[in-house]
Subunit: 380 residues, 2 copies
Amino acid sequence: MSAIVDVGLTRFQKKREENVVALAAAAYKPLLRHAEKIDFVIVANSYSGELNLVSGINNHFTSHVSLDKVRSLRADNISGSGGTAIFMADTLIKAKVAQTVLVIGVEKMSDKNTAENAEIISTLLTERERESGVTLPSLAALMAKSYMQEYNADREAIAWVAVKSHKNGSLNQYAHYQKETSIQQVMNSAIVADPLRAFEYSPISDGAAALLITSNENAIKFTPKPVFIKAIGFAADTSHLTFRDDFTSIEAVREAGKMAYSMANVKPKDIGFAELHDMATILEIVQSEDLQLFDRGQGWHCARDGTTAIDGQMPINTSGGLISKGHPIGASGVAQATEAFFQIRGEAGARQVKSNKLGLSISLAGFGNNATVIVYGDSE
Amino acid sequence: MSAIVDVGLTRFQKKREENVVALAAAAYKPLLRHAEKIDFVIVANSYSGELNLVSGINNHFTSHVSLDKVRSLRADNISGSGGTAIFMADTLIKAKVAQTVLVIGVEKMSDKNTAENAEIISTLLTERERESGVTLPSLAALMAKSYMQEYNADREAIAWVAVKSHKNGSLNQYAHYQKETSIQQVMNSAIVADPLRAFEYSPISDGAAALLITSNENAIKFTPKPVFIKAIGFAADTSHLTFRDDFTSIEAVREAGKMAYSMANVKPKDIGFAELHDMATILEIVQSEDLQLFDRGQGWHCARDGTTAIDGQMPINTSGGLISKGHPIGASGVAQATEAFFQIRGEAGARQVKSNKLGLSISLAGFGNNATVIVYGDSE
């Protein structure tokens, strides 16, 4: 496997001034000192063509930052692009095709307005479902309804995920929202798709994140404290939501999780913290169960009762998650790895968890079309 | 390394009826019988968002063809996407992360008109150059002028590349243009960017191509005649054309070529046939020299004097090349590999070359931002 030896991050924001290429470069800036070591660049990005009128963004980026002679590509898996890019970087290193890979995740969404963004993102849905009026927010709402019915879950308890995430975000200088919010504010925010409300969804953001990944053997040359990628599970499921058996669980997440635990030879209870793909509150809950961090039907308690808080028994989305940190599509999965990097190195400041030897992240394509689960650790 | 064990291809055409996902599926159709063996899918595609309002095309594709449980991603490197996707497939196999990878190259350009396509493709150029009015056709024209001046090359000799390519295309049932053309027709076609004329450029096409790639050890289970990927060179250069030293040569091609020859342990003179990235006539000539198939300044003779004909000493673009076969961006590099597959297996029919033990292809991103050179052979 491989190790993360350095990271870079821009603040995720509603509107950043740089163009999408310069935004990617801003995340890379702290890694400039490693430039000569980089022998491959993967740019995780989905929508630079549609949003920013830029194609071949990997080539634009390498030329912009004077990595002209370094091979590159764009890895796209919609909202799961970040995890997929890390998977491909790890694969390049495993195959000894590259030694040190720069992974950049970037999306600049503010070049379009909210309606345009929604329209563009909806193109990931199958035609039949899109035409019948399905949207990603409405799928999350449907999942919330199914979950509440199945497990007799309390509506407000689900909304507590947003309260917890905003609290964490308030401690993260890179987060889109850096303000705490109350349960009343969440429950009084506008309904987006019944029963879920505006504060329960990730916002549209601009942002970029960067990772320097190298072989385990090589890692020590960069830092005395590498963060090791112990396993990457990667699994897929149908994009036709109507073909899925169960709407309170995501098969791709379950399978990718099992694969990752098995590869890393760890148990769910060993995990010290997790960055989940909380495009909406309910998704954090469902994923926490799919990854066996909690028993089936028990996840909904865990934000309200403090279990998933930074000082709780199983801290989830210490970064603020997609809901509070923001969700610039291509950047999200890469930024999760930066949070794991900070936590495992003990550099997460006010967000620091105690049980920081082993963490995981999940990067989700679409509504579970595929998923990568990465296990990070302080040892190989 | 790895081996190609089966291929699929749609005809490249001005307008195909299927949508972009169904078009990809059409290329996959002959490979359906291998479905259970496929454990990874890479879709080479650049512009499905801009051209077809489809994102996450890899997920759409896997669900469309019932490969729902197979992991996938979209690999994008603009016009070089096909070669990059093959490189990544080979890497997955080398790393033993996958055993049998389906590579699909696809682009459906006819959903937009010619002006819209030109506008979309121009987004691969750096902003400064695009704003100064540079286009890919004008860069090819500039290259032609520089080359003619440097090597005192005959204008008509360059145009003969198109005559040769159309002749080859007339023998290829998958080609966009399947009609021979005369030197007079080429020289009388409209000037696109002086001195180059319409028949000297690749057309805008719809099309898809598919490869089944597996490990060398595994290949024999699929076919007694695998086509081995002996080497893949991959090199990059600045996207800022104005920063390049020489406009009669492409550094990324030279470097990727050297790398491929060295990895495959072959010499340029061992190569039996080549599929080059002839976005314009002059590019075939320059690449043939950059790959040392001909001496510097000698490539321009070779179409007119028959050297690069199917029965010539060094057949180039037996498929018809991008000029005659067509250039659906994401599909082109993948389709080149299908031609190598047919040639090496002796299945190229009227296009069959005699020296078919060793072939190469070059997939070019942009105007040489990066390039992959693949060496194919009948043995490991």
